[in-house]
């Protein structure tokens, strides 16, 4: 035990216990498909909301864009597996290797641009947009004929029990990368705006995504997404292990990021952008990093959701839905990972599970009266959210733990 600290051990053990209990309930059939679906949905929403917590709770950028990225991840990864199970590896090659190529080009361009001062944001955006288009075009023209048969052959040689999870994993990663690339392109010019303007712009983004998803078969070249009729025939690959594993990895990534100096930079941008600049933090970088990572989480969660319900409809990614993660993150406590995880599951279990089942039939829509009332009470009685900024010991940074231990003196008002 010398190497591992107690909170880490407790955290891993506790998580494993939760995983095994729920896995046990699923395996023995105690949880029917309905409740299984609720829990998977809760997991996906929690991951989306953790992304929002990084963007809004920790970095202070009010965003309504999460469902746009959730939708991109869902449709992106579903498109990949849809074609893969029908014997066509092209979508996988473009989504996976095309994204990797574009990210590589981004890194090269960022490195190149570092040598120049005074390149305006609009110019940067134009450069990045051009290489994005070039990258994906090149992957369609060059990589698909080159890597497609190779990849297919490789996976055909693998036993099915290995190949299928691996394909799913790569599809999830692809969805996350596509969401990340979109958020980078969108965030580059828009994050320059102040917080409120940024919020409105992200709302616009989610609306655009929904409209594009409505027209995937007409103005976009993705006939299998079937536009406003909804996409059918996605393989059902999501299991509790996938949901839990992804959630666990996301939590650990967020925790480690926030405990690093980069994390401190992200949080200090929330506290005072100007002061952060004056201590040498690259504010634009910190914002982009938080925004892209938060969107990648949303994209991966979208993939999990798509492969659970096997049917995608643009209406699920309507901008109104974007308020769900916002409500959850405020409800759980802005800047608390613990709060988001707890509230994310609570939200879905309560709204889609308990209330839907226990309200008399015909009164289900009263859910939308009950939850706003709960919200209202919450804001009046506990505006800092259920958990405030409380964290489980494992998720808490050492210096924050110390601060919480010191007697919470009443705050004097500085003169």
């Amino acid at each position: 035990m010398a190497k591992f600290k107690k909170p880490s051990v407790y955290f891993v053990a506790g998580s494993l216990l939760i995983f095994l209990v729920i896995q046990g309930l699923i395996s023995t059939g105690t949880l029917n498909d309905y409740w299984k679906g609720i829990i998977f949905w809760g997991g996906a929403i929690t991951i989306v909301t953790l992304g929002l917590n990084l963007i809004y709770g920790f970095n202070g950028q009010f965003s309504l864009g999460q469902y746009g990225f959730y939708g991109i991840g869902a449709y992106g990864s579903a498109y990949v597996t849809y074609h893969w199970v029908r014997g066509d590896p092209a979508a996988m090659v473009v989504a996976l290797f095309g994204s990797l190529l574009v990210i590589g080009l981004y890194a090269a361009l960022a490195w190149g641009l570092r040598r120049f001062y005074g390149v305006t944001v609009k110019a940067r955006f134009t450069f990045y947009l051009i290489i994005t288009i070039l990258g994906f075009w090149a992957s369609v023209v060059v990589l698909v004929p080159l890597l497609g048969p190779m990849m297919w052959g490789f996976f055909a040689a693998l036993p099915e029990a290995v190949a299928q999870p691996l394909v799913f994993f790569l599809a999830l990663i692809s969805g996350g990368m596509l969401a990340g690339i979109t958020s980078f392109l969108f965030g580059l010019p828009v994050l320059e705006l102040g917080s409120d303007y940024f919020g409105i712009a992200t709302l616009g983004f989610t609306i655009i995504v929904k409209v594009l998803l409505d027209n995937t078969d007409t103005i976009l070249p993705f006939p299998a997404m079937k536009g406003a009729r909804g996409m059918l025939g996605i393989p059902r690959w999501t299991t509790w292990a996938w949901v839990f594993g992804t959630l666990f990895v996301v939590i650990v990534i967020m925790r480690n990021l926030l405990h690093s100096s980069v994390g401190r930079a992200i949080v200090s941008v929330r506290e005072d952008e100007r002061a952060a600049e004056l201590v040498g933090i690259d504010v634009a970088n910190a914002k982009i990093l938080a925004f892209v990572l938060g969107s990648v989480f949303a994209g991966v969660a979208g993939g999990l959701r798509a492969h659970d319900i096997t049917f995608l409809h643009p209406q699920s990614f309507h901008f109104i839905q974007s308020f769900n993660p916002l409500i959850i993150v405020v409800f759980g406590g802005l800047g608390s990972i613990t709060g988001t995880v707890f509230t994310g599951f609570l939200w879905i279990v309560l709204l889609e599970g308990v209330l839907r089942l226990f309200l008399p039939s015909g009164y289900e829509t009263w859910r939308f009266v009950i939850y706003p009332l709960i919200l209202l009470m919450m804001m009046l009685l506990r505006p800092e959210g259920l958990f405030g900024t409380y964290e489980l010991p494992f998720l808490r940074a050492a210096h924050v733990a110390k601060r919480q231990a010191i007697a919470q003196k009443p705050e004097e008002v500085p003169v």
Partner: protein, 237 residues
Amino acid sequence: MALLEVKDLCVSYGAIQALHGISFHVEEGEVVTLIGANGAGKSTTLRAISALQIVDSGSITYKGVDITGKEPSDIVKMGLIHVPEGRRIFAPLTVRENLEMGAYTRTDRRAIRESMEHVFDLFPRLKERLEQTGGTLSGGEQQMLAVGRALMSDPKLLLMDEPSMGLAPILVEEIFDIIETISKQGVTILLVEQNAHMALSVAQRAYVLETGTIGLSGPAQELAENPRVREAYLGGH
């Protein structure tokens, strides 16, 4: 070669031109002060140097490198640190965390610890309040924290914007004592002040800013005795 050389600096806020081509320089080891009335462009000058404000024309050279148009974070890495007007400490973070944020651009943990000890020598009060959040400090303590945070980045040149603003006279004395101490330890200081009397007493040279142009300049002692300066900025006594 001067440590900092500003040439024909022009800055405007929309249609209003705040600086009409000012030029000045700061030699290594000096304390130089910019004095002037409200709206003369003192803070704008500092903001332009630390890249918080976009420059219309002119050049800013630091350590022989043209830093006009660089990012604020790059400038901090070069050891040019701005202590802003109104302190701008991180109110929800503790004193320790604030100081650690000051060392954000540095990686050598031992050197950072030494800097922190150094800050505690200068400001023993901060050591007493180490785990208190910045927002709960008094105005004077916040100013000390702002200076302490700047020192944590191991600065070569400090830009100080109105360090005496809103402080009781005894604290003003204390802050200026600190400025002299820091200067003796080899940090070059460019000081902007409304309290011209105090500023001229610690500075070697001074520039008088008048609505975006430099009116007078010279050794601080001389300016303090200049009848025009005395009348306009020192209350005429």
